[in-house]
């Protein structure tokens, strides 16, 4: 068996499981629809348009900032685990990293990236 055999098996199992759990509920569930159950709300006005419409671009901004800083923060973990082996070089590397991150943070802050305008 090639070294990729286990990977292939793993992929196959994952795919099968995912398929199984998406398809099975639909097959097994009992359905008894009626007019009231099909309404969007029990009370209130019927929706006239799709809900997934517009919402402020600021959400994206915040989400993006989150992803950026989160990923950067995640880089600390491997460094922390290997800190002793990496010795001074690792420390210097991380200091540079934090400085770069800090400048980015300061820039976003100063330019009002964190304000909900």
């Amino acid at each position: 068996m090639t070294p990729y055999g286990p990977v292939a098996i793993y992929l196959a199992v994952a795919l099968a499981a995912a398929l199984l759990f998406t398809v099975l509920p639909g097959l097994m569930a009992q359905r008894k629809p009626n007019a009231v159950k099909s309404e969007a709300y029990e009370c209130g006005v019927e929706p006239t348009s799709d809900v997934s419409g517009r919402f402020p671009v600021r959400f994206y901004l915040i989400a993006m900032l989150f992803v950026v800083f989160d990923v950067e923060a995640a880089s600390f973990y491997p460094w922390a685990v290997q800190m002793h082996q990496l010795r001074v070089f690792g420390l210097l590397e991380m200091i540079v990293f934090v400085i770069v991150l800090g400048i980015g943070y300061a820039y976003v802050w100063k330019r009002g990236g964190f304000q909900w305008r």
């Binding site: 990729y4 290997q82 002793h84 082996q85 990496l86 010795r87 070089f89 770069v100 400048i103 300061a106 820039y107 100063k110 330019r111």
Partner: protein, 478 residues
């Protein structure tokens, strides 16, 4: 406790010094901008910082000439032809920033300048990349910046440009990454040198194929070129100029190292034959499509597709001199293309605008110096003497004929013949007599493009008259 990880050598860091300086200049531009009040001075400060960083990086890169050192265990090949590609990228960055004194509104310039510099870092990493990881790192660093830069304009075309580039370039990256995965799977190593040592296998051939598709996207070779004209047209002029050279410098470095160092000699010709074919198609199709264009940026985009075809054709047969001549022609292309962009910049009031071919009508009688410069650059693009384009083409022809690729050289001649019509359309417009009232004549207040024009024209002339010494300093492929 596991054994200590070997120190990163100081020589390793030295190899990355130019890249580090450029990245630091980008950070500095951001920090300084935070303390500036609104106004036009902000543009100049940001661009001045960037220029200083680029000049220092250029000098540092030049000092690496002749130092051949595989830094970070071979991930980054210091010295070699990466030095020349690096200088090309740095020069192109400098010129592009000068076209409009930065990119975007006054308060955006520091940010865009920093992004430009970091993208250049990506190109430098690509040019020297010695393994697949570094190639991808450099490529993404370069591309991510460009996604933002393309959209950096109020025009809706710019947004289209940015999105189009994001989508198509991501797809190309996907191809590239898939190819890399297969190559790694086939050889068990990410180092390019290890790939050539591995026994031939279908995985390697398939991986190399996908990898080359990804690179062909970045080089915008036909049929992977469809993004180029739209992206070039929508992006601000400086970004278009920047993309037309810097991405090519990076991708050419990758292609060169891949073709010369990574492919097993036994199968290299079979794997690369599609690349020469694609290059040949690019020369013809790129120039044919350029015939139809009336917007200068689109015209230069299509002409660039043809020009890249010429460059890649120099690789044909992987002769040792072929890579040298490809890089020589890239240098020639850099000067003539950026020179033409600088002329366009001088004809626009706002560096963000677009310019139709019609604006050149009668230019020779309104602004004779500008017309003379443009004529010179267009002669070079068309491959006529006494310019770098002429000598570059002679060298490429000699290389491909010498390698036995007759069909490629004949197609190169055919492509050139078509391109003459493209470029002389503009030359003709400049020298024809027109009623001045019908011409929309704008002028830029920015003097910096004149410097670029002078430097580029001098370089095009010198490379065109005496190509021997310049081409001989380009290191041969290792």
């Amino acid at each position: 406790m596991s054994p200590p990880i070997p120190y990163v050598n100081s020589a390793d860091l030295h190899a990355l010094l130019p890249t580090t300086v450029i990245a630091a200049a980008g950070l500095l531009a951001l920090v300084v901008d935070l303390f500036m009040s609104a106004g036009r001075a902000r543009r100049w400060i940001a661009v001045a910082i960037a220029a200083a960083g680029l000049v220092i990086a250029g000098v540092l890169t030049a000092q690496q000439y002749g130092h051949s050192y595989p830094a970070f265990g071979g991930a980054y090949m210091q010295g070699g032809f990466a030095v020349v590609l690096g200088e090309i990228a740095i020069f192109a960055t400098l010129v592009s920033l000068g076209l409009g004194i930065g990119i975007g509104r006054d308060d955006q310039v520091a940010g865009t300048t920093a992004i430009v510099l970091w993208s250049t870092c990506g190109a430098l990493l690509m040019a020297g990349a010695g393994n697949l990881m570094m190639i991808f790192l450099g490529l993404e660093l370069l591309s991510l910046g460009l996604y933002c830069l393309c959209a950096m304009s109020v025009r809706s075309a710019a947004r289209e440009s940015g999105l189009k580039y994001l989508l198509l370039s991501s797809m190309a990256s996907g191809f590239l990454l898939y190819g890399m995965a297969l190559l790694f799977g086939g050889t068990g190593s990410v180092a390019l040198a290890a790939i050539s040592a591995a026994p031939p296998s279908p995985l390697i051939a398939l991986g190399a194929g996908l990898f080359l598709v990804g690179i062909a996207f970045k080089l915008s070779l036909v049929p992977f070129h469809s993004w180029t004209p739209d992206v070039y047209e929508g992006a601000p002029l400086s970004v278009t100029a920047y993309m037309s050279v810097v991405t090519k410098a990076g991708a050419l470095g990758v292609l060169g190292r891949f073709a010369y160092a990574a492919l097993p000699p036994a199968t290299a010709n079979a794997i690369l034959l599609p690349v020469w074919t694609v290059a040949a198609i690019s020369m013809i199709v790129g120039n044919l499509a350029a015939l139809q264009q009336i917007d200068m940026k689109r015209l230069l985009a299509y002409s660039g597709i043809g020009q890249v075809g010429y460059i890649v054709a120099a690789f044909a047969g992987q002769t040792p001199l072929g890579l040298r001549y490809a890089i020589f022609y890239l240098a020639a292309y850099t000067f003539m293309n950026l020179g033409a962009f600088a002329v366009v910049a001088l004809m626009l009031k706002d560096a963000d605008g677009s310019l139709g071919v019609g604006a050149f009508a009668g230019l020779a009688y309104r602004r004779p110096w500008l017309a003379a410069a443009m004529t010179f650059f267009l002669l070079s693009l068309a491959g006529l003497p006494p310019t770098a384009g002429f000598t570059g083409k002679i060298l490429i022809l000699a290389s491909s004929v010498g390698a036995g690729y007759w069909w490629l050289s004949v197609l190169l001649i055919a492509g050139t013949a078509i391109s003459v019509y493209v470029y002389f359309k503009i030359v003709r417009a400049m020298f024809v007599r027109v009623d001045e009232a019908h011409v929309r004549a704008e002028r830029s207040t920015n003097p910096l493009p004149w410097i670029s024009i002078a430097v580029c024209a001098a370089a095009v002339f010198v490379l065109g008259i005496y190509p021997l010494a310049p081409s001989d300093i380009i290191p041969l492929a290792k």
